[in-house]
């Protein structure tokens, strides 16, 4: 239960969520190398070295090992970089999800997917894990702040299915207020950050903060929706918002068109086409987030 707030960094919020979950759940284990992975080092010190399974750096079967451990009753957590994901067991994650969905087997694997802080402008960016995870329908959350990271990581560890958590390096250094103690955010529910009537802006991960700051700074009349979870998508939250505003911008932290933006636009077009006053728009955040969004919103809202 939350008892107060404290100001910590994004990565510290993840570490705190893991510490709390490892304290609560004796079956939670971490697959990593303490020498190379701060989470492994800290969890080994806090929860015991037997709760950290050492895997060699570059081990290609790390996700298969995590899925196997999950099938044996553990709740494994592991960490990969986004570029490693396809070669290191995305297919095993998909299979694990199928085992849960069709055979009812618990496959609670949490994968922290690091997205490096590069310029994410060009389409087809290999560092964008949603490129693989969304078409594969692997449950994935994209936290936008330290508080979101803490709540979503805790929920991921408790989920009966594999859940990927995108850890965007652009957010890693930023700090913010985080509830102290246990903090849980339900996976699959979007979060309305700001209410407005002129335009719906949908974002996730690193794109939410810049959109929120811009809207606050310019006092824009926009409805800002943080998707939180990109698989599954909270369609109803977006559709309800568009029904109020009649216009939609998907503000992507990586590239456009993206699988997430495509899914959001498709859902809105299918369910609320008659409410739209203008074609939905996808904008990539790139490395100059404020400028890109400011220009686009200025054109749309006429300021």
């Amino acid at each position: 239960m939350s008892t107060g707030v404290t100001r910590i960094r994004f990565v510290e919020a993840i570490a705190e969520a893991l510490r709390l979950e490892f304290g609560r759940d004796s079956q939670a284990i971490y697959l990593g190398t303490p020498q190379d992975d701060p989470f492994a080092e800290e969890l080994g010190a806090v929860a015991g070295s037997d709760r950290v399974v050492e895997v060699q750096p570059g081990e290609r079967t790390v996700i298969a090992r995590a899925v196997g451990a999950a099938l044996e009753g553990y709740h494994p957590v592991c960490r990969l970089s986004a570029a490693e994901l396809p070669g290191r067991g995305l297919d095993q994650l998909v299979e694990a999800q199928g085992l849960q969905a069709v055979e009812g087997l618990r496959t609670p694997v949490t994968v922290l997917v690091d997205r490096p802080a590069a310029d994410h402008g060009p389409p087809g960016d290999a560092d964008a894990p949603e490129r693989w995870l969304v078409p594969a329908a692997v449950p994935t959350v994209s936290p936008s702040s330290p508080a979101e990271a803490k709540g979503l990581v805790a929920a991921a560890v408790r989920a009966p299915t594999p859940v990927c958590v995108i850890v965007d390096e652009r957010l890693a250094a930023g700090n913010d207020h985080v509830p102290e103690g246990g903090h849980l955010i339900r996976i699959g529910r979007a979060h309305s950050l700001r209410r407005g009537s002129a335009l719906t802006v949908v974002g996730h991960g690193a794109s939410v903060g810049p959109a929120f700051r811009l809207a606050s700074e310019l006092d824009l009349d926009i409805d800002l929706v943080d998707l939180r979870s990109i698989v599954p998508l909270d369609h109803s939250a977006v559709i309800e918002s568009v029904k109020r505003t009649s216009r939609l911008v998907v503000f992507e932290p990586t590239f456009v068109p993206s699988p997430v933006g495509d899914a959001v636009v498709a859902a809105v077009v299918a369910a609320a086409f008659e409410y739209l006053d203008a074609p939905p728009l996808q904008i990539a955040m790139g490395s100059h987030s404020d400028t890109v969004l400011r220009e686009a919103l200025g054109e749309l809202l006429g300021y």
Binding site: T61, A66, G68, A69, Y74, D91, E95, V102
Partner: protein
């Protein structure tokens, strides 16, 4: 002489000497009935039946349904509460089976998986083999090899693809598969590390030898009776 039984894989070990017990042979008979392994049928189900009968309740079976056969799947998977893959259509579950075998903590059984030889040689496969070998994981890998007509049954597996101790058997010979898998499981349960059983068979059942075209269930039931298995248990297995 069985043309492939003498083909040893990595190392010079032969997994047996101990043969599976009467309980496993009665299980084999029951699974033959469930799989409808009637006259002339010697396909992948034969490998699955031999493997399934060798497992004990604490063992895990981690194999896609396609290696088990539609007739057999329900019974074989129901027989083992700790099964994975009953509804899976994946090409193989070898890496997940290796992950199960490598899970931390005390273990009271083996993890068995069935895969096609086609799956050998990928990066993930090679890494999984290296890990289970280095960490002495209790994994029994049953490889189903289908040899085209005109090729010798004694053909060796691709170099380095099966770096585990094991043996090759006639994949159409149910008792050979049963004995080899039972011995492999026994080895892994007692901490001997992973093992492989390469089941070699011809693709088309019509090419099975004359003896195999006789009803194998009836013949097997008679041989069990002759070996002293209780009649009522045999009749129960045949129901």
């Amino acid at each position: 002489m069985n043309p492939v039984a003498a083909t040893h894989l990595h190392g010079s070990h032969r997994l047996r000497p101990s043969a599976a017990g009467v309980e496993a042979r009665l299980a084999l008979l029951g699974l033959m009935m469930k799989a409808r392994l009637r006259a002339g049928v010697a396909g992948g189900e034969a490998v699955a039946v031999g493997t399934g009968a060798a497992l004990e309740p604490d063992d895990r079976l981690c194999a896609p349904r396609r290696f088990v056969g539609a007739h057999l799947a329900a019974d074989l998977y129901e027989r083992y509460p700790r099964r994975v893959g009953a509804a899976s259509s994946a090409p193989d579950l070898v890496t997940i089976a290796a992950g199960m075998a490598l899970a931390p903590g005390e273990r009271d059984g083996a993890v068995a998986t069935i895969a096609s030889e086609d799956a050998l040689g990928t990066d993930a496969w090679t890494t999984a083999m290296r890990l289970v070998r280095e960490l002495a994981a209790p994994l029994v890998l049953v490889v189903d090899r289908v040899v085209p007509h005109g090729r010798p049954l004694t053909q060796a597996p691709p170099p380095g693809s099966l770096p585990l101790i094991g043996e090759a058997v006639d994949g159409a010979h149910l008792e050979d598969v049963l004995d080899a898998v039972a011995a492999a499981c026994e080895r892994t349960r007692s901490g001997g590390g992973p093992a492989v059983v390469l089941c070699v068979r011809r693709g088309a059942p019509s090419e099975a030898p004359f003896a195999a075209r006789l009803d194998p269930i009836e013949r097997y039931a008679r041989s069990l009776l002759g070996a002293g298995a209780p009649r009522e248990r045999i009749e129960a297995a045949l129901r």
